[in-house]
């Protein structure tokens, strides 16, 4: 629930604004194909993939850069 007038009384509140709902296509990783190159982690502009190659769907906006950069096509973009 937002405060009256959208006043922000606690710092670091940006993370409360889940942006995953903006997504049209969702990246799905096939771990069997993955070669651990970390390209997806490096290229994700929203820091929504960690070093364990786990995708944070609360913030991933579905831009598809990870799928584009994956050298072994381990990430597939699937329509939500």
């Amino acid at each position: 629930m937002v405060a009256i007038g959208c006043v922000v009384k606690n710092p670091g509140s940006s993370k409360n604004n889940k942006t995953g709902s903006w997504r049209t296509f969702k990246p799905v990783l096939d771990k069997d194909k993955c070669v651990d190159c970390e390209n997806c982690y490096i290229f994700c502009p929203d820091a929504s993939i960690n070093t364990e190659r786990e995708i944070d769907y609360d913030y991933c906006k579905g831009c598809g850069i990870c799928a584009n950069e994956c050298p072994v096509d381990a990430i597939e973009m699937i329509k939500e």
Binding site: V2, A3, G5, V7, V8, K9
Partner: protein, 381 residues
């Protein structure tokens, strides 16, 4: 208690003096100018302990008002016509940020053609900004309403800014006797503003005027709608409290001889005085007629209007504005919400005189209607 003869602009300035705002950002514009002049004088004479900010435009006046109100102090500003148009963007921000200050609007026509005279197009054009809008009929009501506006706006259930709308020249530049309330009584009625939801304080830091994505925006706007709905009750309560303290009773609407009326005029602002005189005249001639003065235009007091017009057959809705392509704003609101036979009349745009003869013509045209919306006083080719 002191009684003085003064203009409505002076009456507003007196109310502001009594309300003790701490910041007054204001930019002069006809016919509001004397409000800003009186307040500058009061601040210079130390009758008001406030920061008077000489801004470079109305956009800055309202921006400074939002900033100061966000900082947690009581704020007043005033404008008119093109000045209110320039404020448009920040009017919405003021309401959305829930900054509860008061603005007096000296109602004046909008360009083009350029015109400095009275109609109510300027404030009507801002009706969707999320501000409470109260239209006053005379100088005493201008003073009293300005005081009440602070109490309503600052109520934690409301936290929306208020616009006190007074007809340019007809009220702003004509004098009437006005009772000036005692400061002590005003202090009891309107204690110092204690901001709760937003204020600048290094001990409890917060951000105001922030971003809201689609996950939050809808709720933020709905909160404003709830506050507007609450305002109907709070305005009435505040009016009752004011009456108890100062002996003058106001409400969301003011019904005059409506109980047994077959036709009821519905109008806002100074024109109600003229209509009331015509109602008396028509009553003497045996006509069953009344007047419903709308004080609160936003929130729109549907229940209070329904109650007042329950026994009548027809409504003659008088608008000093037009929403092009549809009729007057008050008329279209009445048509949408009140299940009565209603006719709209556009009058007095750009300061055209509204004569008793024309008020009677409105009555005749409601009794024997030809069309739904009629412009009164148009010159024949």
């Amino acid at each position: 208690m002191v009684k003085e003869v003064m203009t409505s602009n002076k009456a507003v300035a007196e109310a502001v003096r009594l309300a003790k705002p701490q910041v007054i950002p204001v930019y002069p514009i006809t016919p509001q100018t004397t409000i800003s002049e009186y307040l500058a004088q009061y601040v210079a004479d130390e009758k008001i302990d406030a920061k008077y900010i000489k801004v470079e435009s109305e956009h800055s006046a309202i921006s400074a008002s939002v900033g100061a109100s966000g900082a947690g102090v009581r704020v007043f500003t005033a404008t008119s016509s093109q000045g209110l148009m320039l404020m448009h963007e920040i009017l919405f921000a003021a309401a959305g940020m829930r900054t509860p200050f008061v603005l007096a609007d000296a109602n004046r026509a909008i360009s083009a053609p350029l015109n400095i005279w009275n109609d109510q197009q300027d404030s009507i054009a801002q009706r969707d900004a999320g501000w409470l809008q109260i239209y006053v009929e005379n100088a005493q009501e201008a003073l009293d309403t300005t005081l009440m506006a602070y109490k309503v706006s600052e109520n934690p259930k409301i936290l929306l800014p208020s616009m006190v709308c007074l007809d340019g020249f007809i009220l702003t530049h004509t004098v009437e006797p006005v009772e000036i309330p005692e400061q002590e009584l005003v202090d009891e009625f309107l204690p110092p503003y204690k901001p709760e939801h937003s204020f600048i304080d290094t001990e409890t830091p917060m951000s105001i005027g922030t971003f809201a994505d689609p996950e939050n925006y809808l709720e933020a706007r709905h909160d404003m709608q709830v506050a507007m709905d609450n305002a109907k009750e709070v305005i009435q309560q505040t009016c009752d409290e004011f009456a108890e303290k100062f002996g003058r009773q106001y409400g969301l609407v003011d019904a005059y001889k409506c109980d047994d009326a077959e036709i009821i005029y519905v109008a806002m602002g100074s024109i109600c005085s003229t209509i009331r005189a015509i109602v008396d005249e028509l009553r003497e001639a045996g006509e069953k007629v009344g007047l419903l003065k709308i004080r609160a235009y936003r929130p729109f007091p549907v229940e209070a209007i329904e109650e007042a017009v329950v026994n009548c057959d027809k409504l003659a809705v008088v608008d000093k504005n037009v929403t092009f392509g549809n009729g007057g704003a008050l008329f279209t609101d009445i048509k949408a919400k009140i299940h009565k036979d209603a006719y709209g009349f556009i009058v007095g745009l750009g300061g055209r005189d509204i004569t008793p003869k024309e008020i009677k013509e409105i009555y005749e045209k409601t009794k024997n209607p030809v069309k739904e919306v009629t412009w009164i006083g148009l010159k024949e080719e």
